[in-house]
């Protein structure tokens, strides 16, 4: 197998990966980005509403970074590591300034400065935005910026697995999708910036490419996931296509109504109303639908009409377009049909605030792939774009520091391990007959949605766990019909399914274990938050079929847990 050598490899070409690569490259190290799609196709592009930032001199005069930290911690139902949240708030203004200086066309105030709007869970408005295509604008800016640097891009290369020795990660095996040629990329540091996993759920706002590859690769290499039971469901996905209708809509004043025309959020969050955090709003919508106050088919209305046509078309263009194109609804004339769908994964590869994983020397992670514990049990809107850039940069800098301290060490010949990775991939699809990936995939997505979704309970999750184990067994009779050696997407889809199954078992198992309700993890059999027993992070390893669970304390600096009322 061909071998290529770099100081660092970044897997994933979204905002977190590109920002990390930028920092590594400007520190003078040789870095490559491996991505299964061309970088601008990454899911960062789908982020809509904005990026939260406290900007000194350009924020509400009463606001300060501490309020932002507090909002993030409360939003995350106190499962947030407070030092991480503080760092996020403190760096937010600088990150927006950098992206602006690189060309991002943020919406402006009349005096030419960057504009701002409200998002859910914010005490003061902090969301900076480019229409409602902020992710796309930031991703293009950053990709275009780094495309001018000395970084090697391996676009449309599929990462199979990490290679490690007894204590260090030493590289990754990836395959060029076009030629199906595997290459062993050797590096002293690997950054997992592989994004989320929405495809595990039957209803998700995520891109088709979000199959949780990074989580599974880390698990198979022996690294832990932190808080894997926390999955965010966004309250307003367009019915029925699950296209995201940005929280910006509610930030700009849209309201949720049921079939009686009632502004029902008044019953669930009397003060913040429609701008309550996502977990609370999602459960409110499902409750309305279950109690017969939804519309036929199972949705509620998102009413923008009072905002006026011009305002809607400028500030909420994507929401307007999506409703028109994909649901046949003119949002200036009638409410947009919405329902909750999987949206974000708070859990992720266990890392500290420098992006470093404690299990494997040289392993880093950033963005949605990582769990820095900045979102805790529920992420606030506008904090994900911010996290990708702030922690992408922190991670890139930590990698540069790591590289300066860890010179080339004699790694044992691990070529055999690299060969084995490729063999294992082909073995996974070796059957000549049986089921193909789609059958297993569709079953997995349904069981996750129904049993490990917005409302959870012990019986449901036990059932889910046994079904997932069944599905894992089914893969032994999975086959790939396509024998082509060029861009064989069936082969890669099967490997994505392998990743999804490795992650699913960890989510179901850890969710079953956490016997309380906190943020997005809501159990009907344990409806209250239980700080006495559960104010702690779940740390999960995957050993074959067994999920090993330990716990880690939450880092609390200044804000003691309090009831979460909106």
């Amino acid at each position: 197998m061909e071998k290529l050598s770099y100081d660092a490899i970044v897997i994933g070409g979204g905002l977190a990966g590109l920002m990390a690569a930028h920092e590594i490259a400007v520190s003078g190290y040789k870095v490559a980005v491996i991505s299964k799609v061309f970088p601008t196709r990454s899911h960062s592009s789908s982020a809509e509403g904005g990026i939260a930032a406290y900007i000194e001199g350009n924020s509400d005069p009463n606001d300060n970074p501490d309020y932002m930290t507090y909002d993030t911690i409360k939003g995350g139902d106190f499962l947030v590591d407070q030092d991480a949240a503080e760092l996020l708030s403190q760096k937010s203004g600088e990150i927006v300034r950098i992206m602006e200086s690189w060309g991002t066309l943020f919406n402006r105030q009349p005096d030419g400065r960057v504009a701002v709007r409200y998002f859910g869970g914010q005490t003061y408005p902090r969301t900076r935005f480019v229409g409602d295509k902020t992710g796309m604008a930031l991703l293009h800016t950053l990709f275009q910026r780094v495309s001018g640097l000395d970084i090697d891009f391996y676009n449309e290369w599929f990462a199979l697995d990490l290679i490690r020795d007894d204590k260090r990660v030493v590289g990754v095996v990836a395959m060029e999708m076009k030629s199906m040629t595997p290459v062993f990329f050797k590096a002293r540091a690997i950054v997992m910036a592989t994004g989320g996993m929405g495809m595990l759920y039957a209803h998700s706002t995520n891109a088709y490419i979000n199959t949780g590859d990074g989580y599974a690769m880390a698990l198979r290499a022996g690294a832990a996931l932190k808080d894997p039971e926390f999955v965010q469901f966004h309250p307003t996905a367009l019915y029925p296509s699950d296209i995201l209708i940005s929280e910006a809509a509610r930030g700009e004043g849209a309201i949720l109504i049921n079939n009686k025309g009632e502004r029902f959020m008044a019953r669930y969050a009397p003060r913040k109303l429609d701008l309550a955090p996502r977990d609370i709003t999602s459960r409110a919508i499902i409750t309305e639908i279950r109690e017969g106050r939804g519309f036929p088919g199972g949705y509620v209305g998102l009413d923008l009409r009072h905002l006026g046509e011009d305002y809607i078309k400028e500030r909420l263009a994507l929401a307007y377009e999506a409703a028109k194109n994909f649901a046949g609804v003119d949002a200036t004339q009638e409410p947009i049909p919405v329902r909750p769908a999987q949206h974000y994964y708070m859990g992720g590869i266990d890392v500290d605030i420098t992006g470093q994983n404690p299990d494997l020397i040289g392993l880093f992670a950033a963005g949605e792939a990582a769990c820095v514990s900045v979102h805790g049990a529920n992420r606030l809107g506008s904090n994900s774009l911010l996290e990708t850039l702030v922690f992408g940069r922190e991670t890139g800098r930590a990698v540069a520091k790591f590289l300066s301290e860890h010179k080339e060490e004699d790694s044992n010949s691990l070529d055999k391990e690299a060969e084995k990775v490729v063999d294992d991939a082909y073995k996974f699809v070796k059957s000549e007959s049986g089921v193909h990936f789609g059958e297993i995939l569709n079953k997995l997505r349904n069981v996750m949605w129904e049993k490990v979704g917005i409302f959870r309970d012990e019986d449901g999750m036990k059932d889910a766990l046994s079904q997932i184990i069944e599905l894992r067994k089914m893969t032994s009779s999975m086959y790939v019909l396509d024998k082509s050696t060029t861009y064989n997407t069936e082969f890669f889809n099967a490997l994505e399914l392998r990743n999804m199954l490795d992650l699913a078992i960890v989510i179901a198992r850890t969710a079953l274990e956490r016997k309380e309700s906190r943020g997005a993890h809501y159990r009907t059999d344990y409806p209250e938050r239980d700080d006495k027993n559960w104010l702690k992070h779940t740390i999960a390893y995957l050993k074959g079929e067994t999920v090993e669970i330990t716990y880690k304390p939450v880092r609390i600096t200044r804000w003691k847990p309090e009831p979460r009322v909106y």
Binding site: F38, S46, E100, G103, M136, G438
Partner: protein, 315 residues
């Protein structure tokens, strides 16, 4: 909302290195909300896992799923199956890979040439040193932001290039997407490499034929052709003009002159002013040999109130 299902037939032009090219038919039920990306996903997960295509965001921001649907260059995600059925009056939908790009597998094409075009225009802001170092801050008028954002929304899907006749015939033409990107930075008051951008863009801008295919197919309505027009208006700032740019400039001047004189575009006069008498005579001989000289020699009468036209032009 009604979710009445309807059976459709999807005919896909397949290709593999091993098997060559063939058409394959699938049948499935769709409703009024079913996007073509969903059609493809369902074919792949429920009927034929071997089908290869690209799709990512399913909301028209990632630019992965460009293809030809019933012969039209479109994003699959932004196309509802039943809209196609209604538009063409039949329940059969054909899908082919985009034109111009070499096919790798089924609907997956090779974008290398497209990306190279995009990178040629230096697609990034070159801000001042002060701003980069955080010593100064950009201000941008809301109206400038709006204007630039319109053209910044290119998602690199390639549909405009696949539909562009000039790209196919003129290797020096950068293509519509690259021009949109180039103009977006050319017009950005925060950028510092204006002269270099002119050198990259002006000559190519005069190679567009204004056929408006890019305008028609762009799924984000960024109007690449508009950016080409706007770029041409910067020709006067270019110090060393290429022959193409010079001819273009002369042509534009000749048209203005002709309208000022007669209120009409007098093709023969415009031709002579643009290309010079000698070239015009040579071309006329060629036209004569082909029996087309009579078209060139049509004499135009002045419009009646030409004064009024001059007034408008002068404004």
């Amino acid at each position: 909302m009604s979710e009445e299902e309807k059976e459709i037939v999807v005919k896909i032009k397949r290709f593999s290195k091993e098997k060559g090219s063939w058409w394959q038919e699938y049948k499935l039920k769709v409703d009024r909300f079913t996007q073509m990306t969903e059609v493809l996903r369902r074919i792949k997960t429920e009927q034929d896992p071997t089908l290869a295509y690209r799709a990512s965001c399913h909301m028209a921001v990632c630019g992965s799923c460009g293809m030809k649907i019933n012969g039209e260059p479109r994003l699959a995600c932004k196309t509802l199956a039943l809209d196609m059925v209604r538009k063409y009056g039949k329940n059969e939908i054909t899908i082919e890979p985009m034109d111009f790009f070499p096919v790798i597998k089924d609907l997956v094409v090779d974008w290398t040439d497209f990306y190279n075009r995009m990178f040629k225009v230096k697609p990034r802001l070159y801000p001042s040193k002060e701003v980069l170092e955080g010593k100064a801050e950009h201000r941008l008028k809301p109206e400038d932001q709006r204007e630039l954002w319109k053209f910044e929304q290119c998602i690199w899907c390639g549909l405009c290039v696949s539909a562009c006749p000039s790209v196919k015939n003129d290797p020096e033409f950068l293509g519509p997407a690259a021009h949109a990107k180039g103009y977006r930075f050319l017009a950005d008051p925060r950028d510092t490499i204006f002269d270099e951008r002119l050198k990259i863009l002006i000559d190519s801008a005069w190679r567009c034929t204004y056929c408006y295919q890019c305008f028609n197919v762009c799924p984000r309505d960024i109007e690449p052709v508009t950016t080409i027009k706007k770029t041409r208006a910067y020709t006067k700032f270019l110090s060393e003009k290429t022959p193409v740019a010079l001819t273009g400039e002369k042509h534009a001047e000749a048209i203005v002159k002709s309208i000022e004189e007669s209120g009409k575009i007098e093709e023969a006069k415009v031709y002579i002013s643009t290309y010079g008498l000698l070239t015009a005579i040579t071309d006329m001989i060629y036209a004569m040999q082909n029996g087309k000289l009579k078209y060139a020699l049509v004499t135009q009468k002045k419009v009646k109130d030409v004064e009024q036209i001059r007034k408008i032009m002068g404004e």
